[in-house]
Symmetry: C2
Subunit: 137 residues, 2 copies
Amino acid sequence: MGMYCWGMARAATTSDAFNAVAEPRRRAILNYLAMQERPVGEIVDSLGLEQPSVSKHLRVLLEVGLVNVRRDGRRMLYRTNAEAIRPLHEWTETFERFWRHQLSRIKERAEGKSNPSKDSGPHFIPRRKNDFDSNKN
Amino acid sequence: MGMYCWGMARAATTSDAFNAVAEPRRRAILNYLAMQERPVGEIVDSLGLEQPSVSKHLRVLLEVGLVNVRRDGRRMLYRTNAEAIRPLHEWTETFERFWRHQLSRIKERAEGKSNPSKDSGPHFIPRRKNDFDSNKN
DNA sequence: TTGACATATGCCCATATGGGAATGTATTGT
DNA sequence: ACAATACATTCCCATATGGGCATATGTCAA
């Protein structure tokens, strides 16, 4: 019967910049290629990764437009296409006002009174059994 | 014999904020919970997702500190912890000067002469067979 | 205490990796 | 044409999902 798409598990790293930069080495590569174009070999030497690995990461970055390539003899010169990072910057930027807000609230509270009661905790994980404020029982 | 860690395939979504926000619905949730704390049910109704799905995403967000929780009766009030998004903002920000640079270069070129030769293409994928500038053969 | 309500988890399963190793392909030099 | 150099791709395989569904937990109301 009609079971089209079933589990998609997780979006492809090649589906968008957000997924692509989720990988630390890819961010490292983008950092490395930001100011200057470089051949694959230099990335390999510089970041200490395996060549096939670097090629694969570059492929992913290329597919989402985070890098550009140019051939130079037998070398492939890659370079970060900063413009493609812009959407991420803009998304994160929409939260800037909120963290400023939170900071001021925290500061306020810190100066006001040394009350150790957390705002619900910096962030706190309910591992299994819910026992948030189990001050009953 | 000693084969410690083998394939790690991909970092866990709970390993860091970058991985956590790679998922579109999680970003949607973060947007939704940015200005005000909300119970799970409202997220479900508002974003049109299944409740278990929302709970799982919230769990991921919670583990990397992107949201905070607070219990209110039988409801769990979640809220975005903008502070945790800051590292992403800062990383993307390091590329800002580069895209400004590129924009000016593009603009310059566009005004200079209407030369259709691409800078190596906006970004261009070498699908299989390498045929970058195969103007030989 | 019992039932309703609000969430969180557990299960099952297909998909998308990402590393390592081996191999294919393109380009240059002689 | 042939070897060397520089990359890209393929295979194999374990891991981390994420959706749908059923079910467990926790809390409150009568």
